[in-house]
């Protein structure tokens, strides 16, 4: 197995995975989390990854984000692209205000103060939180926190957004609203999105393409385009029927691991 690290040669916004493999641990304890995953995300494409627990969805995103080392294969990103990653929990810094949270990546990039100010204000407006800059994360609701996290990730000004079940912990109504928001921002900014979820309805609602990963080891076993025109509604029959199909495949996959 040749360990190859992330390289940056593709077009801005594109993500290309070739034979990506990831092994955790050594010897007896080794776990093959991903086994030869190849996948291309076109610039501006919205790809949803679904799969049961432990199939390596988070592992995949971490590899693309460069937070972990590849065991094999290669990942190509656009030149100088540092993809933004959003987690299931907002992962906001509790000791900073909303403003300051969004400001962190700008500070780390060394932007001057007035520019940072303007940028933070703009980003908070984008997520409908213009009036909440002075609050602290614990004073916000879960949905608002995820929007702050989204703004903070957008502050990285990156064309590639990686999202690891970002709305898993939210209630259904808030989630519906955030789906709309995310769709709007995605299309406004022409982002490439790699979106991980357990929730097939969510995948059908958002994706251009849905990719199904098998469990242990993680491999791509099926994928489908979602050709429903946008804007979409999660309660709509077209979405429901796509969701039903993915669900059935997922259940079969899950059933493989029973008893």
């Amino acid at each position: 197995m040749t360990a190859t690290t992330t390289t940056s040669r593709g077009a801005t916004g594109s993500v290309a995975l070739q034979g990506v493999t990831k092994v955790y641990g050594h010897g007896d304890n080794a776990v093959l989390a991903l086994d030869g995953v190849s996948l291309d995300v076109a610039p501006g494409e919205f790809v949803c990854l679904v799969g049961a627990s432990g199939c390596g969805k988070s592992t995949l995103l971490n590899l693309v984000a460069g937070l972990d080392r590849l065991s094999g294969g290669r990942i190509e990103l656009g030149d100088g692209v540092n993809p933004g990653l959003m987690f299931q929990e907002p992962a906001l810094f509790p000791w900073l205000t909303v403003d300051a949270n969004v400001e962190v990546p700008l500070k780390l990039r060394g932007l001057p103060r007035p520019e940072r100010r303007a940028k933070v204000a703009e980003l908070l407006r984008t997520v409908h939180l213009a009036d909440f800059g002075r609050k602290r994360p614990h004073q916000l609701s879960g949905g608002m926190r995820q929007r702050v996290a989204l703004a903070r990730t957008l502050a990285l000004d990156t064309p590639v957004l990686l999202m690891d079940e970002p709305f898993g912990a939210l209630d259904a109504m808030t989630r519906d609203i955030l789906h709309d928001e995310l769709e709007r921002i995605w299309s406004e900014r022409q982002l490439s999105v790699l979106f991980v979820t357990h929730n097939v309805r969510e995948a059908a609602r958002l994706a251009d393409r849905i990719i199904l990963l098998s469990s242990r080891p993680g491999r791509i076993i099926w994928s489908t385009r979602v050709d429903v025109p946008r804007p979409r509604r999660i309660d709509s029959p077209e979405i429901a029927s796509i969701a039903a199909e993915v669900t059935d495949r997922l259940r079969t996959e899950v059933g493989r691991h029973g008893q």
Binding site: N62, A65, L67, N82, G84, L85, F87, E89, A91, F93, P94, W95, L96, V104, P105, K107, L108, R109, R125, T126, H128, F132, R136, P137, H138, Q139, L140, S141, G142, G143, M144, R152, L156, M173, T174, I177, D180, E181, R184, P231, R232, R233, S236
Partner: protein
């Protein structure tokens, strides 16, 4: 921002902000400042009055000779003299300065040691439990070494104070760094924080509450070590609370001894309330202020 449309139903900003308004309602409330202060103060005063009352009652029973157990009146009279004497204020100034310098040194040592042990696995295995074991070493055991290293200078006192307090501080740091949520570290890295930046923006602030708790414990050890250590070097022209405490005892000045104990308690209360305020401020910021309202 234009309002979005959703499957033909107009989606208004009102809906988003309505949800926001509903979700975050009632997160900040509380009684007035005055009322809080009063309800925090009266039980302390009552406890004080009760303690003095019991003390006076015991003295009135004549259980012990007055020179062995002086009554509140005698002690407070002596405290009065003490409060207007230069002995107290000079001593307090010396001791406070030493406490500040010694504690600062202990904090510096403790932070560095704690950080090193928290991050370097080998050091943790090597020194981890040694740090706690050091806490149990009584100050007087260090006196000979202190004199060997620093002769009769104030450094000898600082040495003892540092050895007393640094382990607690280091333990606080280790605990704090251990419990930095890995999620925050990974978020920080994704936002571009590496090396020192990661410490500055993520690890240090995340570990702060535990570090403050360690500092508070460290202070108690520092102060106790100082009280003992001030006897090491009784310096010309510089009287100190620690020396006065011991002399009061050596001269069997019971009222003065008690007056000094009161001074020490007051200093302890003041420092504790400073730490309490710091802790509260942090916890309020973090939104983990506990329901008990402390």
């Amino acid at each position: 921002m234009a309002s979005d449309t959703l499957a033909g139903i107009p989606r208004t900003d009102a809906e988003i902000s309505g949800l926001d308004a509903l979700e975050i309602a009632g997160r900040e409330k509380g009684p007035s400042r005055l009322r809080r202060t009063w309800s925090a103060t009266w039980p302390k005063l009552a406890a004080l009055a009760l303690a003095i009352g019991i003390w006076q009652a015991v003295v009135w029973t004549g259980w012990k000779d007055p020179w062995a157990l002086p009554g509140p009146a005698v002690v407070f009279a002596d405290l009065g003299h003490y409060l207007v004497s230069p002995a107290l204020w000079d001593g307090l100034a010396t001791t406070a300065r030493r406490a500040a310098v010694g504690f600062a040194a202990a904090v510096a040592v403790g932070l560095l040691l704690g950080l090193a042990v928290a991050r370097v696995k080998v050091l943790r295995a090597a020194l981890g439990s040694m740090i706690t074991a050091l806490q149990t070493m009584p100050s007087i055991a260090w006196f000979p070494l202190a004199i060997l290293l620093f002769q009769l200078s104030e450094q000898a006192i600082f040495f003892v104070v540092v050895l007393g307090a640094a382990p607690s501080v280091a333990n606080g740091v280790i605990h704090g760094v251990d419990y930095v949520p890995p999620l925050l570290v990974r978020a920080g890295r994704n936002l571009g924080a590496r090396g020192l930046g990661l410490y500055r923006y993520v690890i240090a602030p995340a570990a702060l509450p535990a570090i403050v708790a360690g500092l508070k414990q460290g202070w108690a050890f520092a102060w106790r070590s100082l009280m003992a250590g001030e006897l090491l070097v009784v310096i010309a022209t510089r009287t100190s609370i620690g020396a006065q405490l011991t002399y009061a005892r050596e001269l069997n000045e019971a009222p003065r001894l008690m007056a000094i104990m009161i001074v020490i308690l007051v200093v302890g209360l003041l420092v504790d309330s400073a730490f309490g305020a710091a802790d509260k401020a942090i916890r309020r910021r973090w939104g983990v202020l506990d329901q008990a309202g402390n």
